[in-house]
C-alpha cells in the first residue's frame, strides 16, 4: 500500500511538470470539443494525432490522449442533453432523460449533474485503478501466450455477444477487423498476405486509415443520406448550470452506483462504456421513487449513466495498462499509440516505465479537475460549438481526416483505402452492424495470431495446451458462457414451446 502511494506521489511529480500540465490541458480541451461535436469522437481524434505525436515524449502524449478520452465522455453528455443527437455512443442513454430535462427548462441541472457525476466517477475510477491495477499486475505475471490468447478470445466473444442486437452482425464486424489486420507481410515467415499485388499494402493498412474510413468517411456518408430529412432540436442553455438541494439529493446515490457499475464492467477484459450506461439507466429507473418522471426528465437517468460512462473509461485503462488488452475503440487506438513508442502495455510496463504509468494515472486526477472547470463555469463556450452549421462541420471533419491520412505517407493509395473502408463503414452503419468490434479486431488481430503461434510453438503444435492450462481453461469457459449466456433464456423458452426474446443489453431501455 505504501508502495502504491509512493508510486502515485512520484506520478504526481511527473504529471505536475508545466509541460505535462499543458498537454493535459490540450487533451481535455480537445476532448471536450470533439465530445460536444457530433460525428467525431475520441477514437478518431487520437488516431489522427498518432503520427503528429510520434516524436513527443510518450508520457506527455499519453497524458494528452487520456485527457481526450475523458474529455470526450464529458463533452458527449453536453450534446446529448442539449441536442437530440448524442456526441458519443456512450452518451446515448444520457440523452433519453437529459434531453427531456432540457426541453422542460432544467437544462442547467442536467448539465450540472452530468459534469459533477462525471467528476465523481472519474475520481472513483482512478482510485479503483490505483488500488486494483497492482493486484492485476501480479496475476498477469503468471500469464503466458496461451492465457493471453484465451483473454483475447474472451474479449472477442463478449464484444460480439453483448454489443448490438445481432450476434452474426457483431461477429462479422469482428472478423472483418481481423481480416483487415491480416493484410500485409507476415512477420514470422515474410509471406505477403491479402495485398492484392498492391505494393503499398505490404506494410499493412495503417490503423489511422481504418479509423478515418470507418468513423469519419462512413459517418459523413451516413449524414449525407439523412441530413435533409432530420431536424436537430437544439436547446440553448438558459438558467445557471447548478442544481437545487433536492436534485443533489437525488443525484449523489446515482453517481456512486453508476461509478461502481461503470468501473467494474469497464475494467473487465471486455467491457466498453455502452453496456454500463444502459444497466445504470435500468437500475436507477427501478430504484427511483419518482417513477412518474421517467421519460419526462428524471435526473437520476442522467446522473447514473453519465457517471457510468466516465467510470467505464477509467476502467478501460486497467486491462489496457495491465494486460495490454483494449476493451473499447478508443483504448484500441491507445494500444496502437503504445506500440508506436515501442512500449508493450502489460505487467512489465509497470516495472519498466513506472514514471509513465503513474504519471498517467496521476494526470487523470488533474484532468478531471480541469474538466470540471471546463464543463461547469465555461459550459457556454462549448454550447457555441453546437452552432457550427452541420454541412460545414462534417465537410471540415473530412478535410482534417484526409490531410491526416495524407500526412502519414503522402500516398494516394492510402486515400483510396480510406475511401473504400468508408464505403464499407457506411454500409455497415446502414445495415446496423456495430463498428467497435472491427477496430478491436484490426488492433488485436496481429496480436492474437502471434500469441496463438507462440503458444503452439511452446506446446510443439499441441492445441490442447489451451485447455490443459488451468487459467487458460477458466478464461475460455467464461468466453463460451459470454457468447451463449445471453441466448439461454431464448433457448429455454423455445424448448418450452414459447416464443422468447433474446436478452441483449441496449435492446430497449426498459
Amino acid at each position: 500500500m505504501v508502495d502504491v502511494l509512493g508510486s502515485l506521489g512520484q506520478g504526481f511529480a511527473v504529471a505536475l511538470t508545466p509541460q505535462n500540465l499543458l498537454y493535459a490541458l490540450i487533451g481535455v480541451t480537445l476532448g471536450t470539443a470533439i465530445g460536444v461535436l457530433p460525428g467525431i469522437g475520441p477514437a478518431l481524434t487520437i488516431a489522427l494525432l498518432l503520427p503528429v505525436t510520434s516524436r513527443l515524449d510518450p508520457t506527455s502524449a499519453f497524458i494528452m490522449f487520456s485527457g481526450i478520452y475523458y474529455g470526450g465522455m464529458y463533452g458527449g453528455s453536453t450534446s446529448s442533453i442539449l441536442v437530440n443527437t448524442p456526441g458519443e455512443t456512450a452518451s446515448v442513454v444520457t440523452g433519453i432523460e437529459g434531453h427531456q430535462m432540457a426541453r422542460r427548462g432544467r437544462d442547467g441541472a442536467a448539465l450540472a449533474t452530468a459534469a459533477i457525476g462525471s467528476f465523481v466517477a472519474g475520481n472513483v475510477a482512478t482510485l479503483a485503478l490505483v488500488l486494483f491495477a497492482p493486484i492485476v499486475v501480479v496475476v498477469a505475471l503468471l500469464f503466458g501466450p496461451a492465457e493471453y490468447f484465451a483473454l483475447m478470445v474472451l474479449a472477442f466473444t463478449t464484444v460480439t455477444g453483448l454489443v448490438g442486437r445481432s450476434v452474426p452482425k457483431a461477429t462479422f464486424s469482428l472478423f472483418l477487423g481481423l481480416a483487415i489486420g491480416l493484410v500485409g507481410i507476415d512477420l514470422q515467415t515474410g509471406q505477403a498476405r491479402y495485398t492484392l499485388g498492391v505494393l503499398e499494402l505490404l506494410d499493412g493498412i495503417e490503423v489511422v486509415n481504418i479509423a478515418v474510413g470507418l468513423f469519419a468517411v462512413g459517418e459523413v456518408f451516413w449524414v449525407a443520406s439523412t441530413i435533409k430529412r432530420s431536424k436537430d432540436d437544439v436547446v440553448s442553455v438558459r438558467g445557471s448550470v447548478w442544481m437545487t438541494p433536492l436534485e443533489w439529493a437525488r443525484s449523489w446515490k446515482a453517481w456512486l452506483r453508476g461509478s461502481v457499475l461503470g468501473f467494474s464492467i469497464g475494467s473487465l477484459p471486455a467491457g466498453g462504456a455502452e453496456i454500463p450506461t444502459f444497466l445504470s439507466y435500468n437500475i436507477e429507473k427501478r430504484l427511483s421513487k419518482h417513477k412518474d418522471e421517467w421519460g419526462k426528465g428524471a435526473i437520476e437517468g442522467v446522473a447514473g449513466p453519465e457517471a457510468a460512462n466516465n467510470a467505464a473509461a477509467g476502467g478501460a485503462l486497467m486491462p489496457l495498462l495491465t494486460l495490454g488488452l483494449p476493451t473499447s475503440a478508443t483504448a484500441a487506438i491507445m494500444l496502437v499509440a503504445f506500440q508506436q513508442y515501442g512500449l508493450q502495455p502489460g505487467p512489465l510496463l509497470f516495472q519498466n516505465s513506472g514514471d509513465l504509468v503513474w504519471g498517467l494515472i496521476a494526470s487523470l486526477y488533474i484532468g478531471n479537475l480541469m474538466l470540471l472547470v471546463l464543463n461547469l463555469p465555461l459550459i457556454r463556450i462549448w454550447v457555441k460549438l453546437l452552432e457550427i452549421p452541420r454541412p460545414l462541420l462534417y465537410s471540415g471533419i473530412l478535410v482534417f481526416a484526409t490531410l491526416g491520412v495524407w500526412s502519414l505517407s503522402n500516398s494516394v493509395v492510402d486515400l483510396v483505402t480510406m475511401y473504400v473502408i468508408g464505403v464499407v463503414g457506411y454500409a455497415m452503419r446502414r445495415l446496423d452492424f456495430p463498428i467497435g468490434p472491427t477496430i478491436l479486431g484490426v488492433v488485436l488481430g496481429p496480436r492474437i495470431e502471434q500469441e496463438l503461434r507462440r503458444a503452439l510453438a511452446i506446446s510443439q503444435g499441441d492445441p490442447t495446451t489451451f485447455i490443459m492450462r488451468p487459467i487458460s481453461l477458466v478464461i475460455l469457459l467464461v468466453a463460451v458462457l459470454a457468447l451463449f449466456g445471453p441466448q439461454i433464456p431464448m433457448l429455454v423458452s423455445r424448448v418450452r414451446g414459447r416464443s422468447g426474446t433474446r436478452f441483449a443489453i441496449g435492446d430497449k431501455a426498459d
Binding site: T171, F175, F221, L392, L398, L408
Partner: protein, 193 residues
C-alpha cells in the same frame, strides 16, 4: 407499412449475409493459395487466415439464415434514403482524392469544403470558401508540424542534427520558417518525401 419495412430490412440482411458469404469464400480461397514459404513455423501463415475466413463465412450464413429486424425507432426516417445527397457526397469525396495532388491541398480542400457543404444543404458559398481556407490552414498546422516545439526548445539553437523518426523522416521540428511550404502549397502538391 410496418410489415413492408420489416420485409425490406429482412431482405437487406439476407443480401448482406450472401455478400458476406461470398467474401468469406474468397478469403478462404486466398488463404488456400498462400504459399507456406521456406521458413519453418509451428503455425504457418495460412492457419489464422483460414480461421478468419471460416468466421466470416459462418457469420454470413448465420445472418442469411436468421435476418434480424431493426427496431422501429431506427427506421423513423423510412427505408428510403436521400440517395441523391449520398451520391453527391461520394462523388465529391472521390473528386477531392483525385484532385488532392494536382491542385495542392489548399485549393483542393477549399473547393471540397465548399462543394461538400453545398451538397449537404449549405447555401452560403462565400462563407464556406473562407471556412475551407481556414480549415486547411488549421489542418496544415496540426499535421505538418511536429508537436515537440515546447518540449525540447534547445534544438532550435543547437547545431546538432535533428533526430529523425523512421516514419516521417522528412519532418524537422516546428519552425516558423517552414510556413513558406504552406504558402508554396498554393497550386502545387505538398512537398513529398
Amino acid at each position: 407499412m410496418d410489415v413492408l419495412r420489416g420485409r425490406l430490412a429482412d431482405s437487406a440482411d439476407r443480401l448482406a449475409g450472401a455478400t458476406i458469404g461470398v467474401f468469406g469464400a474468397w478469403f478462404l480461397w486466398q488463404a488456400a493459395i498462400l504459399r507456406e514459404g521456406p521458413g519453418y513455423a509451428a503455425v504457418g501463415p495460412r492457419v489464422f487466415p483460414v480461421i478468419v475466413g471460416l468466421g466470416i463465412l459462418a457469420s454470413g450464413l448465420a445472418l442469411g439464415a436468421s435476418p434480424t429486424r431493426r427496431p422501429e425507432a431506427e427506421s423513423d426516417i423510412g427505408p428510403e434514403r436521400d440517395w441523391r445527397t449520398l451520391a453527391g457526397a461520394a462523388a465529391i469525396l472521390a473528386g477531392y482524392i483525385v484532385l488532392f495532388q494536382p491542385l495542392g491541398f489548399v485549393v483542393a480542400s477549399t473547393l471540397f469544403l465548399a462543394a461538400s457543404s453545398w451538397n449537404l444543404g449549405s447555401r452560403s458559398l462565400r462563407r464556406d470558401m473562407v471556412a475551407g481556407l481556414l480549415t486547411s490552414a488549421a489542418a496544415y498546422l496540426v499535421f505538418h508540424t511536429s508537436w515537440d516545439w515546447n518540449c525540447r526548445p534547445a534544438r532550435f539553437h543547437s547545431n546538432q542534427p535533428l533526430a529523425m523518426s523512421p516514419k516521417r523522416a522528412n519532418h524537422s521540428a516546428f519552425q516558423w520558417g517552414r510556413w513558406w511550404t504552406f504558402w508554396a502549397a498554393w497550386g502545387k502538391a505538398l512537398p513529398s518525401r
